[in-house]
């Protein structure tokens, strides 16, 4: 039996692109604000669950529900920065405090999701139906649509970070916040904007995946480790690293599931360990000193 290589690659890219968006949001946060936001998976779950609630109870169309989800996750992100992280941001040696505060946020949001959503897995009814068959690859139209949207968002984020004034200010703050402030960059506003953009990305990723995959309350908790792996693999410092890492992880997992179950996962971890051993900053990242 021959191995359907192209099919496996396309399958892996479906989840891989979701990983890419989330990892890009996490990298942005870590790079600009220096916050390892452990609650990021919960943001993603909030996005997915808002879409489900809007479609199921309010009978909104999928597009409107997606917008509502993005707005809500962004607001949650901004509120959590304003009321929690902003107070810790200016302390010296604040890495551990930020991690602990993020864990507190994760507990609160996770339990709130569980209370509101319940424990039963759900699925948002499909908007598109039908399958596309080309070059020996079978893929649903819906999945294709999700992949296209994810690609658009990633490119938009990349352009924002590299080309716009806001992106340049973000890169300046990421390089050195004090020097950026001396040049007239309002660092606090930049931190706020970063949190907002990360919230948008999480809400978007959660929203678009809700049409294809199942929604359950622990989904944020479960996906966070994968995102962390992507970030480690691709590199701390760059969005391009998140793209590379996300696609590698998605495709590797899809191949691994095809050939064997869990053993492939062990090999994946070992590969990541070896890469990190020789390049502690990840594939595309620089060496980072804590």
């Amino acid at each position: 039996m021959s191995v359907p290589v192209a099919q496996l690659i396309v399958d892996g890219m479906g989840m891989g692109l979701i990983y890419v968006i989330l990892a890009a949001g996490l990298v942005l946060m870590m790079n600009v604000s220096g916050i390892l936001l452990i609650a990021y998976g919960e943001f993603y779950a909030i996005g997915a669950i808002t879409v489900w609630t809007c479609v199921e109870y309010l009978r909104l169309p999928f597009g409107a529900a997606l917008i509502v989800a993005v707005v809500i996750t962004t607001l949650v992100g901004l509120a959590s920065y304003r009321f929690i992280f902003q107070r810790i941001q200016h302390r010296p040696n604040n890495f551990l405090s930020q991690v602990v505060a993020a864990v507190g946020l994760m507990l609160i949001l996770g339990q709130a999701i569980l209370l509101i959503f319940g424990t039963v897995p759900q699925k948002v009814p499909s908007v598109f139906t039908g399958m596309v068959r080309k070059f020996g690859i079978t893929i649903s139209v819906e999945k294709l649509f999700v992949m296209a949207l994810a690609l658009v968002v990633t490119v938009a984020l990349f352009l924002m970070y590299e080309k716009t004034r806001l992106g340049r200010a973000m890169r300046a703050v990421a390089f050195n916040a004090d020097v950026a402030a001396l040049q007239g960059v309002n660092t606090n506003a930049i931190y706020m904007a970063t949190m907002g953009i990360s919230g948008v990305l999480a809400g978007f990723a959660g929203g678009i995946m809700s049409g294809v995959y199942e929604i359950y309350p622990e989904m944020g908790h479960n996906i966070f480790f994968s995102i962390l792996l992507v970030v480690m693999l691709g590199g701390m410092g760059s969005i391009a690293g998140a793209v590379v890492g996300g696609l590698i992880l998605g495709i590797t997992l899809s191949f691994g599931l095809y050939f064997t179950g869990g053993m492939a996962q062990i090999i994946l971890f070992l590969i990541i360990g070896v890469i990190l051993f020789f390049r502690p900053g990840g594939l595309l990242g620089s060496r980072i000193q804590l």
Binding site: I38, R87, I88, V103, L107, Q111, G261, I288, L290
Partner: protein, 350 residues
């Protein structure tokens, strides 16, 4: 520091007061099972003691500037090693406990030899990968029971302590005393190491590793020591845990457990290497349990508590009582000195 030296009697009577206070605390802890009868509360006490031991290993590593996300992994290695010794080799628990300490220490030595070289962020990432990998390894090896784990691990064999009693592990109280003994041994060992040259070298490395290196401290070797000692202690806690709970499940040793251990240590106060973990773990284990009437909102209350403590007591709960950690005062001075030297040598601060 004014608090310490302006109080009447000076430092000597302070040390005496501290000794008396610790002796009273030990007596109170030993007599506690006479007051607390409920097995449920005994269980919480035992678990908070266990968490305190794990949190102490975190602080040991943090002293040398290593933030480890693999504490729970070594905890799990200890638990699985002890399970294998008792169930496959039919060894006694009292043999399996030291054996699993040695196993966890040796694995810590091998892994630390590879990991500790890349300090800082690289170490955080590598230890996180180890923390995630270990679950998958436990879950996929058939003779370790897969993801369902292994149940019905026998309790420790009965033991006769000369002149005291025959101890049989039938109720919670013997486990409690065993936990106390382990906690006490950990504290004594860690205190001795902190007071010795090794501990000073650790503290110097944690404050400024480059400065310590320039003063002749072998940074790699002392970091490796800290990692191995922490792993061995975590392995001991794991061995106890496996026989206390009577089951090992891979999911209970995941990275989130390690993050909880970090929280216990940080909430108590990172500057207090012994008292901080104890206070942090007791508070963090008991407060959610006391709020058990409102089971559904318990994680929310815990989360709010954690955030409030981080926001308003950044130096931990113990700073509330005005206890000054000796290390912070000395540390701040050394840090100032270090940054001065660095600045004069033209290092780029990062």
């Amino acid at each position: 520091m004014e608090v310490a030296y302006s109080s009447k009697g000076g430092p000597r009577s302070r040390v005496k007061g501290k000794t008396i206070a610790s002796a009273l605390a030990v007596i109170a802890l030993v007599l506690l099972p006479l007051v607390v009868k409920s097995p449920y509360y005994m269980h919480i006490l035992i678990m908070s003691g266990l968490n305190a031991i794990l949190a102490m290993t975190f602080i040991t590593m943090l002293r040398t500037g290593l933030i480890s996300l693999s504490i729970a992994a070594f905890w799990g290695i200890g638990a699985y090693a002890s399970m294998l010794f008792v169930m496959r080799l039919k060894a006694s628990f009292w043999l399996a406990l030291p054996a699993s300490i040695v196993v966890a220490g040796l694995i810590g030595l091998c892994i630390g030899y590879l990991f500790v070289r890349s300090a800082g962020f690289g170490f955080v990432m590598l230890s996180a990968v180890l923390g995630m990998l270990i679950i998958v390894v436990f879950g996929n090896l058939k003779f370790l029971g897969g993801y369902e784990g292994i149940e019905s691990i026998p309790p420790p064999d009965q033991i006769t302590i000369p002149l005291v009693a025959r101890v049989e592990f039938a109720s919670k109280a013997p486990y409690y005393y065993l936990m106390l003994v382990l906690l006490f041994v950990t504290i004594v060992i860690l205190r001795a190491i902190y007071a010795a040259w090794t501990g000073r070298a650790w503290m110097a490395i944690g404050l400024n590793s480059r400065l310590a290196e320039s003063l002749g401290v072998n940074v790699f070797r002392y970091r490796l020591w800290a990692f191995v000692i922490s792993s061995a202690i975590a392995g001991m806690a794991g061995s106890f845990y496996a026989h206390y709970i009577g089951a090992v499940i891979p999911g209970s040793f995941d990275v989130f457990k390690t993050i909880y251990v970090h929280i216990f240590a940080i909430l108590g106060g990172v500057d207090f290497a012994i008292l901080g973990p104890i206070v942090g773990s007791v508070v963090m284990t008991f407060v959610p349990e006391l709020l058990r009437i409102t089971k559904v909102i318990e994680p929310i209350v815990t989360g709010v508590l954690v955030i409030l403590i981080i926001l308003f007591l950044p130096r931990g709960l113990l700073s509330l009582f005005g206890i000054q950690a000796m290390s912070t005062h000395v540390g701040r001075r050394i840090e100032k000195l270090g940054s001065f030297i660095k600045a004069s040598l033209g290092f780029r601060a990062r």
